[in-house]
Amino acid sequence: MDDLYREVIIEHYKHPGYRGHLDPHDVQFADSNPLCGDHIEITLRTDHQGHVADARFDGRGCAISQASADLLMEAIIGKPIEEIKQLNRQDILDMLGIDLGPVRLKCALLSLKVLKAGVYGLGEASDSLVE
């Protein structure tokens, strides 16, 4: 029907492949966007080579935030942690295949912010992680 809600987004929102919580895990982090109540938790397991062995997200929020979390999990499994640290805003937009205004961008980037705060082992997730 329209550009922003491409089928892929609705699909990943309605039928996420990576929703869940890994226990045990090597990395865990959660944050929310108080403005719209989006909330994302991410758990990861790494292998002995420093690659992501498995990853899951959990949370609630809008289609953009949840679909981008699901797409992000899909993308990082098998990748080296060092590579994940390099991911940026454009990578997320490429996965979603859309352009977003400033407000929705926050929704789209929440999962990346949570992921990076987790792999860097930070105490707090900051917007500067995804700039």
Partner: protein, 407 residues
């Protein structure tokens, strides 16, 4: 009745298409209203012909600018039936007006343990200034609860009043529930209990006939941008004896009568509270906005909005999965905040936007109220003098499209 088709022609923005072939359906006037051409042109003409700094200026432009600035004040005073234009203080917006009371009146009059009564439906602008004072001074905050159907619980209010509050500060109309609170009664009861009152009239002055003398309130705050006027200007109205007794807030040019190196004497009202070069063009635009609304008549505007709102509530409630918050149309201004089961309000708003329908999604600066109802966010459609039933129909079809997409 309003001739809405004629009115729409006064607003240049309605000629806009959001994309080729899609016209703008603006349902976000509670956030800010659109501006009629005469307001835009009043400011334009000010800058093209009369622009100068005001007061103290002897030359022709300075005198013209001063007259325009002060005439607007007189118009605004009449619009709210203030006894005198000296009681109309220009600020940036409702938020600054409330902060002015919090910094000047409240810091001079409230001490640790003093009770300030607010409500659970307040906008952040009428919460945070008092929370700052709570942290700084140790004042206490009490909240009139909101009932399930979105009204203030006046019994609980009376209980709070028995604790001897110093101030009752409340919204005249909720920007989420649309509830029009019984302001005159709240004020009367507050005064009986010996409290001073502040009305957050950000949503009422644009939509209803508000008469400060009939209300009897001590303070009243509103913003131009929500009532067909420009951004950057608002008003604090206050009772003369309170304003006169209050210490100054911002210091600088214009608010003084005399300055020495180490001391100053304050100017008369309203200038005492207007430090520095004010929003002159904006005052001129504000005056034009008030003229515009007055020419249509606030009662006619309110009646039109009521009709649209009744219709909208009826149509929205027919949609399976839609829940509208707040009271029935009888107690409500032109606001419909709603949720759609299974779809996040941001997604609703964004999908509507693709058909040119502008609604807002989020907590609308009333986070505690949303929390009370267990929601992080709602979508909100709001109506003003230029909205039509046809636009409500388009909103309803838009929501059906959203349902289909997420079906």
């Amino acid at each position: 009745m309003l001739d809405v088709n004629e009115i729409r022609k006064d607003f240049p923005i309605f000629q806009r298409e959001t994309k080729p072939g899609t016209r703008l359906i603006y349902l976000d006037s509670t956030a800010t209203s659109q501006k009629p051409l005469l307001v835009i042109e009043a400011m334009d003409a000010y800058y093209r012909r009369s622009n100068a700094n005001i007061h103290r200026g002897v030359h022709m432009l300075a005198e013209e600018a001063t007259s325009l600035y002060e005439e607007a004040r007189v118009k605004i005073a009449r619009f709210i039936n203030a006894p005198s234009a000296h009681q109309v203080i220009y600020t940036r917006n409702t938020t600054e007006s409330i902060n002015l009371v919090a910094y000047s009146w409240a810091r001079a009059n409230l001490k640790s343990g003093d009770l300030v009564i607010l409500t659970e439906m307040e906008h952040h602008s009428n919460l945070v200034p008092w929370q700052i004072l709570q942290a700084e001074r140790g004042i206490e905050l009490g909240f009139i609860p909101v009932t399930e159907d979105g009204l203030l619980d006046l019994d609980e209010y009376k209980t709070l009043l028995s604790r001897g509050p110093k101030l009752v500060s409340f919204t005249h109309m909720s920007n989420v529930l649309g509830t029009i609170n019984p302001a005159a009664e709240i004020i009367r009861l507050a005064h009986e209990a010996g409290a001073v009152t502040l009305v957050d009239a950000a949503q009422s002055v644009p939509h209803l006939k508000v008469d400060v003398q009939a209300l009897g309130t001590d303070f009243l705050a509103f913003s131009a941008h929500k009532m067909c006027g420009p951004t950057g200007i608002g008003v604090l109205y206050g009772k003369m004896e309170l304003l006169e007794a209050m210490p100054p807030f911002l210091g600088g040019g214009d608010m003084i009568k005399e300055v020495k190196l180490r001391s100053f004497r304050t100017n008369a009202l309203p200038y005492k509270f207007e430090a520095g070069t004010p929003a002159i063009a904006e005052a001129v635009g504000f005056g034009a906005a008030v003229d515009y609304l007055s020419s249509l008549g606030m009662d006619a505007i309110a009646a039109h909005e009521h009709e649209i709102t009744e219709y909208a509530l009826e149509r929205l409630e027919e949609i399976p999965g839609v829940n509208v918050f707040g009271p029935s149309a009888q107690h409500k201004g032109g606001v419909a905040a709603f949720t759609l089961d299974g779809v996040h309000p941001h997604d609703v708003a964004q999908i509507l936007d693709q058909d040119g329908i502008a609604v807002r999604a989020g907590h609308h600066c009333a986070q505690p109220l949303h929390e009370k109802f267990g929601l992080p966010a709602t979508s909100r459609a709001s109506f003003y003098l230029y909205n039509t039933k046809e636009e409500v129909d388009l909103l309803v079809s838009g929501i059906y499209k959203v349902k289909e997409l997420f079906g």
